[in-house]
């Protein structure tokens, strides 16, 4: 499969009163056509910021992308002019945001908002755009879509609003859909509806998906490949089955161990990861996970490990220590 997106050495800083927060510290990854990439990590690990940096959606100030490239079809998203990036955002790469309650404009109708990307990017008339909005609202399973075009967002339930968000993201048939925790605010049965919907649409429309989440459960059934992020770095990346069967980074191992499993019959105490995520006031010169890591060695306090290949094909981890032996590689 052809490569669609290539991100290299992305770094983003935020200027705050306490100092410069190094939110993203050199993120590199590729996305192939039709691939589903999961990005997993806890709040503040840089998963959303890295995606928003790529699309130049970081408010500046306080945010600033200080280094890196994001090549989409060979063009760097970070250096193109405003007009060029506008032609990509919403048309070729679109985003579904986390909170369906606040990401719609409450004083515009659902129809106008869902149709807007199509009107802007395809210079379509109102009627044509609304017809297309109906098509996509039906696709995502909104009953009586035509009658509901003139509804306002508050007349939709949370699950319906998230569907409408997805319809808005899909209306220009993007090559990449970035879903930023789209189901976090929803109940499990509605979440299951949305995930089934996205899977179906992915197979029908053949787009690539980047799904950002903190829930390792969702990713397991959805992604082809997973990036685990911590402290502004990708600390492990692997095909989905390898991540779950054979996690290599102590953080990934800890994260999986801290989840209760529904198929457990025996009681098992959860393995918690002690301590707290770091506040990145400087770019760490050591492993960012070192203070919480049970395998930490002298070297981890001095040098920051880069991603390197381990075991299976396409499985990379950023750790000096092999967690199986407890010794350095």
């Amino acid at each position: 499969m052809a490569e669609l997106l290539k991100v290299e050495g992305l770094e983003t800083h935020f200027q705050t009163r306490e100092g410069v927060i190094h939110a993203v510290n050199g993120v590199s990854f590729n996305l192939k056509e039709g691939e589903t990439l999961g990005i997993v990590g806890e709040s503040g690990c840089g998963k959303s910021v890295s995606m928003m940096s790529m699309l130049r959606l970081i408010p500046s100030p306080p945010g600033k992308v200080v280094a890196g490239k994001a090549l989409f079809e060979g063009n760097d998203l970070l250096t193109m002019n405003d007009e060029q990036i506008r032609n990509i955002r919403g048309a070729k790469i679109s985003v579904v945001f986390q909170d369906p309650m606040t990401s719609f404009n409450p004083v515009l109708t659902i129809g106008d908002q869902v149709a807007e990307p199509y009107r802007v990017h395809h210079k379509a008339g109102k009627k044509e755009a609304l017809d297309r909005a109906v098509k996509y609202l039906e696709l995502v399973g909104i009953p009586n879509a035509r009658e509901r075009l003139s509804d306002y967002p508050h007349q939709f339930s949370g699950g319906m609003r998230q569907r409408a968000m997805i319809a808005m993201g899909l209306i220009c048939e993007p090559q990449i859909l970035i879903a930023d925790e789209p189901t976090t605010a929803l109940d499990v049965t509605i979440q299951a509806q949305i995930i089934e919907l996205v899977k179906r649409l992915r197979d029908e429309l053949g787009m690539a998906i980047i799904w950002i989440t903190h829930d390792l459960g969702i990713i397991a059934g959805l992604a082809d490949r997973v990036n685990v992020m911590y402290g502004g770095y990708i600390i492990e990346t692997a095909p989905v089955k390898d991540i779950y069967k054979n996690p290599q980074h102590p953080y990934t191992i800890g994260l999986l161990g801290s989840l209760p499993r529904m198929d457990e019959t025996e009681y098992r105490r959860l393995t918690s990861i002690d301590g707290l995520p770091p506040i990145l006031l400087e770019k760490p010169s050591y492993c960012p996970f070192e203070p919480r890591c049970r395998y930490a060695k002298e070297r981890c306090r001095k040098e920051n490990p880069g991603l390197k290949q381990v075991e299976g094909d396409g499985h990379f981890t950023a750790c000096w220590v092999n967690p199986k032996t407890g010794k350095e590689y």
Binding site: Q193, G217, Y244, E264
Partner: protein, 328 residues
């Protein structure tokens, strides 16, 4: 296990919130049927999990049990007293035994009070510890929940979400309660921190002999922490069983759908799973469906479901379900 002792008995509990219209002459035009006739027991030393989706009435149930909301009707027996009938000083004394841990660790601690004042306040109100003894007790409690005793002079904003939730736990423990209602205590926390708080709650239960009503929407975590689990839908309990029984042998169509909707953190399992996808949304609790509440989204629904409310019956030992059919 020795004979189980009932600590709390809830009988036909109803809680309606009135909907009013009119500014000067306000009149009631309807009611939100938040809790619509539920009965269950909580046994001494156990953890009862209460799960359901948002708006199903699980938090209202917790608050009504504690008399933070007064029930519309029904009884809550705690050690022989009906809390719903207690008033004033008698109720205030009882509250010592019943405490709560709230969902949002950012909203449930007063930002203008120090941690010491927050944890000391219940002791102040009930006059259990004063002066130096109180200071000592606050420090002990902080250590008990895994925080440094010296934190008593700090303010809530200096702590992370997980640490704040520990402060909330310390406050709930201040009066040595028997029952703690945990209202989604971990849903606002990150995954690795959730495990820390759950482990803390488990440790406290075994050392202090606490009883929990654990309210949550995360079914995998509820399964982990609970002994028995009650599933709520639109104001009623649809199924109640021992946790292993409930997960191995769910008998209500809603429980089955709910369980099948939970994603497993395992791609090998996910590949093979079949999901029951529910259509549509939860109906409004202002005007709930007649008969069985779940019939509008139920794949097994027949005529009788619209006509008659299914009884909450015991289908096997300690396994209760509210459904007209045996769908297993």
């Amino acid at each position: 296990m020795t004979e189980k002792q009932v600590l709390l008995k809830v009988e036909n509990l109803y809680k309606y919130f009135p909907i009013k219209k009119g500014v000067i002459f306000s009149r009631q035009t309807g009611a939100v049927h938040a809790v619509d006739g539920i009965s269950f027991n909580i046994y001494n030393g156990e953890t009862l999990g209460l799960v359901g989706e948002s708006g199903c009435g699980k938090s209202t149930t917790g608050r009504t049990i504690l008399q933070l909301y007064r029930p519309t009707s029904g009884s809550v027996f705690f050690e022989g007293d009906d809390l719903a009938k207690l008033k004033g000083e008698n109720l205030r004394r009882k509250r010592r035994d019943l405490q709560m841990i709230f969902q949002d660790p950012y909203a449930s601690l007063n930002p203008r009070m120090t941690v010491g004042q927050i944890i000391g306040e219940p002791m102040e109100i009930h006059g259990t510890y004063k002066g130096a003894a109180q200071t000592k007790r606050v420090q002990d409690l902080l250590q008990l929940v895994g925080l440094n005793g010296a934190f008593a002079n700090r303010y809530p904003h200096e702590f992370s979400g997980g640490q704040r939730q520990r402060i909330g736990v310390a406050r709930a423990l201040a009066l040595e309660p028997k029952l703690i209602v945990c209202d989604e205590p971990i849903s606002a926390l990150d995954v690795s921190i959730q495990a820390q708080v759950v482990n803390l709650l488990e440790d406290l239960q075994s050392t202090l002999g606490l009883t929990y009503l654990f309210i949550a929407h995360d079914l995998s975590m509820v399964r982990h922490i609970s002994d028995r689990i009650a599933v709520m839908y639109l104001g009623i309990i649809v199924e109640l069983a021992d946790r292993n029984e409930l997960y191995a042998n769910p008998r209500h169509p809603y429980t089955q759908a709910l369980l099948s909707a939970v994603p497993y953190p395992d791609p090998f399992v996910e590949e093979k799973r079949k999901r029951i996808i529910l259509e549509g949304d939860v109906p409004s609790p202002v005007n709930p469906p007649s008969g069985c509440r779940f019939r509008t989204r139920c794949q097994y629904a027949k005529e009788i479901c619209a006509e008659e409310k299914p009884a909450f019956r015991e289908i096997s030992k300690d396994h209760f379900v509210a459904c007209h059919f045996d769908i297993s």
